[in-house]
Symmetry: C2
Subunit: 411 residues, 2 copies
């Protein structure tokens, strides 16, 4: 068997094909490119049993990843993150089968590590020496670190308001880092200029075709962790939407291979009320979104006013009979605290938004009794210390403490 069954790249808008052995960015028509595999060939040889003895990271699915030569794999052990039962918060929202895929348990503390691992590995295979990208923080951190491991130089621009810890990650990796007084769209323009000026590889969201393939492994893992039985609903915090596009792509590939059967899960794009272009488009039945002016949310990773792959996100929602929903910041912050206090999981604000969405969709009856529901937490809460208000009494040596009178932790 080959290490990878990658075939070529194709454009989902105009169907043009491209060679996956050469550096590619967007299609000539401006659309992101998708990776195609020799699935018919693979179908004859590849079985779930082959996976059981492989290491617990995303490279266990190397046949349907784009890296052709194993020596180009740049890995920090990313993937096979836990799928954790959330019975107490589930009971609190009357969802008896609630699980969280915890993407905080991964190098660099966010799901962006998946896209970076696969994207940087393929960049290495293609001989890329220097890449550049705008970021809301976490993606830049992951790409800077994986690029360092690959010996690839990086230039990163992020908004001044992006989570501060992600600056440290970029800086410590030796990246050429800048802040911009503006949004990720402003950072994107500066990177676009640099890509032209210095002939860099543009690693912006969806401007290279391989990040989706890394994100897709979330879908592969969910399927494997549920023993190839599909859940009913998957809720995903949606900024650029690459993870949702990737999960949908993964599940359709597994369908084609015959590893999963029946209906795909309904995919839910969760956005912040202060930046909800996909929700607006979905509510209006449109196939593309419009730029969301003056966007703002504490869930910084989903502050993306216009996503390049919006049409792919909306397509995945329509095809799976999913939906899109916007959440207020105050609701997701309250949910974040509740989840920590009764489930012991300190998750990021973006992840917390998917729990609020599940709660609201259950109240509306859109999620039905007994359905299996998966929320996606995209990062560790420890990357967002400012979302938790901490007022702690300070003692002198020899002082005494009060008895714990907190009642929230009781079952």
């Amino acid at each position: 068997m080959k290490f990878s069954y990658v075939s070529h790249l194709h454009c989902p808008k105009c169907n043009q094909k491209y060679d996956a052995r050469e550096k590619q960015q967007l299609c000539e028509c401006g659309s992101p490119l998708l990776v195609a595999y020799h699935l018919d060939e693979l179908k004859k040889e590849f079985t779930p049993e082959l996976l059981t003895k492989r290491e617990a990271n995303l490279w266990r699915y190397h046949e349907i990843l784009p890296v052709e030569h194993e020596e180009n794999v740049v890995s920090l052990g990313e993937g096979m993150t836990p799928l954790i039962a959330m019975p107490r918060i589930g009971e609190d929202m009357s969802i008896s089968n609630l699980y969280m895929k915890d993407e905080g348990i991964i190098p660099s503390g966010s799901f962006k590590a998946r896209g970076a691992a696969v994207g940087v590995s393929k960049a290495k295979e293609l001989g890329i020496e220097e890449l550049a990208m705008p970021t809301n923080g976490n993606a830049g951190a992951s790409w800077a670190l994986y690029a360092a491991r690959a010996g690839i130089k990086s230039s990163i621009v992020m908004p001044v308001n992006a989570p501060k810890i992600t600056r440290n990650e970029c800086a410590v990796s030796g990246s050429n880092l800048y802040l911009v007084n503006g949004l990720i769209s402003d950072a994107g323009k500066i990177i676009g200029q640099a890509v032209n000026d210095f002939s860099l590889y543009d690693a912006s969201t969806l401007k290279e075709p391989y990040r989706i393939e890394g994100k897709k492994t979330m879908g592969l893992e969910i399927a494997e962790q549920l023993n190839w039985e599909m859940p009913d609903v998957i809720l995903y915090p949606t900024g650029g939407g690459v993870g949702l596009i990737g999960i949908y792509k993964a599940l359709t590939e597994l369908q084609y291979l015959g590893w999963i059967n029946g209906r795909l899960p309904r995919l839910v794009a969760v956005q912040a009320a202060g930046c909800a272009p996909i929700v607006k488009a979905w509510e209006e039945g449109k196939s593309v979104s419009e730029f969301w002016p003056d966007s703002s949310t504490i869930a910084f990773g989903i502050n993306v006013p216009k996503a390049l792959g919006d049409f792919l996100v909306l397509d995945a929602i329509y095809k799976t009979e999913g939906c899109a929903i916007a959440i207020e910041d105050q609701s997701l912050l309250a949910e974040q605290q509740k989840i920590a206090a009764i489930e012991g999981a300190f998750i990021c604000p973006e992840g917390a938004s998917t729990f609020v969405a599940a709660r609201q969709l259950r109240e509306k009856g859109w999620i039905k009794d007994g359905e299996k529901v998966i929320t996606l937490n995209t990062g560790a809460g420890i990357k967002y210390p400012d979302t938790v208000q901490v007022e702690v009494p300070i003692l002198q040596p020899g002082d005494r403490i009060r008895k714990n009178t907190n009642s929230l932790s009781k079952k």
Copy 2:
């Protein structure tokens, strides 16, 4: 087969036995207690092949963990952290077989999650309703979160200088949290008083017997990840030393089961130059350490002036022909940056100390050519943002960036 083959508790100092089905703290003689298993019985039934189909977390070793009933397991998916090749930093220090066990990739971002998962699960099984502990930050964070998941109340006291993010983790979990103007030893005295005043379960390091069992799984995983072939050296950042004690215990249990053969790896206790009681005791050939006055180091997790289990740490070092070594703060900070810049791993200062130790022990010839060496990174660098100096240029929208002229990322 039974879920656990736990037999009883025993004192390594005076050999007294205790019932593992009742709440126990220290031995009457003041020593920590260790957990014993029915290894003879287990030896007949338990094989490495049984593990292959189990989930990639520490509960895959449940037969040699102390929780008797699976329903008491309190888990956030902890364990089976990556064992990552570090070829470039290895080459830089002339160690051709260098690997890092990365304990940053775990719930709460530090190896303390292991002790908390097993300790809290066993506390739940014993019917504990409220626990208390002093902490240098990470242990308190992990125990507060796992206790919240178990529905157990917690009270935590940590030094004001402990890493700030660990305050957030305790606070968000609903713990009864205090800071103290002092060291962990001052926090310990306050907790001791509260344990007496309010009849709490004392979860201080080694004052309950089960944290070691959680930490021991690092040794089990290293053995399994190396296909039951022992490495030559394991370097461990040593404060309380529970992980080193646990790894040694794990390896002797695996020896008894016949799963590993030959010499055990030489265990190295790595301490900070500003707090090195174990190193001093080892250099003097002693079996216990003395209180280290005015201790200070940026590697906060190993700022422990006198460890309750010092005699067990020293015993493990002597028995495996290991050693103890102290590292200056400035060396470990420089190493932390170098590791991120050439290996892409942003690790904690405590973890970085083990790389400096490996470098120095190789220079001295104590680590020999071709030996397989494992460093233990005990936590994610993102929990310690203050260890990285970040000065980043701020742009206005429309500005241009400079070309990346960094040379460190070159191979």
